[in-house]
Symmetry: C2
Subunit: 335 residues, 2 copies
DNA sequence: AGTTAGCACTCGCCTTTAATGAGTGCTAAC
DNA sequence: GTTAGCACTCATTAAAGGCGAGTGCTAACT
């Protein structure tokens, strides 16, 4: 791997990302300032193919980058492109009035990212298992039903309606709210599960148990994590007409929350994550790349944003955009 | 329009719904028990075309039903097919444990319908403008924020977080909850808007005003109506490969809540509604049919279910299914 | 030894051409 | 009023041929 090979590989990847058709030696020698004849480039390309960085779709076609080639590119070659400064402004403007409602914020973010990139976008709130409870409140609905509302550390509000075995009244609800608040505020799900709540209110042991079960189910239910997808139809552009079937499978997958949650769950660390082609676990994603990032409140991950594009997506643009979005949201949330 | 024409029209529509390719006179005379030669049928078909009930995609092709033809069919010709009795059981089983959470119920319903029909399915909760408030509760979150939770007549719970101008405490929240409950419970949005709330708690006029505004915005916000779509990829089957573009437009439309709400808002009456081809207002829907129904609690419409299929959809099956689903949900909810 | 020009060969893609067959309208006979 | 027969239409499919981008290999050049 000499410097010349690197330059040629970079040119191939850039050209392929731009045009979408296999890149030939003649194109490279003419379009890029490599100072080499097409024959020399052909020799180098042959080597690059042996190294597994590029492949030929068929004999007598140009070369396209392999997964390994893309990986090398995003890891070492790619330089972050700058984001147009007015885009920063737009991002902040579009999102700042949604900052009080995390669901709306997510939805808007997904819309925005999809619009700016023309790729499919997913945004999700984290499951609440590691978030602490800030407040618990029971609301008397009628004789036979009580709404159980919890507010988490991140000001996310969730609720669940329960039907107690015996009739209830307003005062009971208030009293229990007070007791529960006192004992449960500040706990995470794990702590809550370890707590023995049966002694809290001796007269209403079963009711309290029922309520705490409801809270636990709110926190751990998959349903507590919202997921939004936007711009999914862009997927139809990734594939050629003949394998519409594949695009369809992917679209179907994006309709199902469990898969989406799984897809985004791998996002780790505090920067941008990239998963290319075969690196993706899910079958329909193996022709795609996934770029994800998270946004946080303090140390606590609140949600994830992901972009699904073709393997030949504009990584530089996408990474830059996600970095900025994540930065702005994290910033706004911490105020 | 003699009886023979009706029989021929019916045969054409049935055959086209089944096969999807234009129906010719010879096919009709052989496949259906009309006791007529193809030549006679040709003459009748020519008449049916003049009446605007069928059309030819091009000279020398068979006939396909026009929108007007389908309309006649669903209005007078179509006989309800029976639903397999075990399907009734499945419907009840799948839905009954979601009955306490209207959002989950909807999501599951959409999934179920999409699975059973292989058409795209939409389900939405109604906007809450005409529903009465059953209970209001303020939850003290921290010094600077208060969660405002309302429970509606249908046990739907909604919330909104507000940031009062001055600091608050637990007792203030409880006191205000009590007062608001006393005065607002039983009101609909319209009544609420007419009410002058400024005198309720003289010491906290602005706060109360802010809270009531929050309630109003919860009730009237478009966002308060959840919409779920399932099986949207089935749309790709409706169109041929060449006008993939149209399918795409429709898919895009189904990603945008305002359009979906608009689409379903036309559903009226208490039975099943059918809208065929050009009868649909939205451009990308003009190649489709939409079948909708509602489910209710008492007199109050709680939500809508809609199925989007090709104009040649199996109306009998879809109508029957929706009737049953609507019946079961309405039934379950009223318990 | 590295680089380049030249050449034969490959193969996907596009266009043209021809064949096929389902279907129609019209006419004349039953 | 119904039906058989016939000429005609036209989308669809398959085969054939030309085009062009691209490759690998060889031999010559620096």
């Amino acid at each position: 791997m000499n410097d010349r090979k690197i330059r040629i590989l970079e040119a191939i990847i850039q050209d392929y990302i731009q045009t979408g058709s296999p890149v030939g030696s003649r194109t490279l020698s003419k379009k890029y300032d490599l100072q080499l004849s097409s024959a020399t480039i052909r020799n180098e390309m042959s080597d690059l193919e042996e190294l597994g960085l590029i492949t030929q779709p068929h004999t007598s076609a140009g070369r396209i980058p392999s997964d390994k080639g893309y990986r090398l590119y995003v890891d070492t070659l790619m330089d972050r492109s700058d984001l147009a400064p007015d885009l920063d402004l737009i991002i902040v403007k579009m999102l700042q009035d949604k900052i009080n409602n995390i669901d709306l914020l997510l939805e808007e973010t997904a819309r925005l990212v999809a619009m700016m990139t023309n790729y499919a976008t997913i945004a999700s709130t984290q499951t609440l298992t590691e978030i602490t409870i800030k407040r618990v409140q029971l609301i008397y609905v009628d004789l036979k039903s009580v709404a159980c509302v919890i507010v988490t550390e991140a000001n996310v509000i969730k609720h669940h309606i329960i039907f107690p075995p015996t009739e209830v009244d307003v005062n009971l609800c208030l009293m229990l709210s007070e007791v529960l608040n006192e004992h449960l505020a500040g706990m995470t799900l794990k702590e809550l599960q370890k707590t023995d709540v049966r002694q809290l209110v001796p007269d209403h042991e079963t009711l309290v148990l029922q309520i705490v079960c409801a809270i636990i189910s709110i926190l751990q239910e998959e349903d507590s994590s919202q997921v939004f997808t936007r711009g999914t139809t862009n997927i139809l552009d990734f594939y050629d007409f003949n394998d519409l079937q594949k695009a369809r499978e992917l679209l179907e997958l994006l309709e199902q929350k469990p898969y989406l949650t799984k897809l985004l769950s791998k996002t780790s660390g505090n920067s941008v994550n990239i998963s290319i082609g075969e690196e993706n676990a899910l079958e329909p994603m193996k022709e795609c790349s996934l770029v994800t990032t998270t946004y946080k409140l303090g140390d606590c991950t609140l949600g994830t944003i992901g972009i699904i594009g073709p393997k030949r997506m504009n990584y530089a643009q996408v990474v830059t955009l996600l970095e900025h979005i994540s930065y702005h949201i994290t910033n706004m949330l911490s105020e």
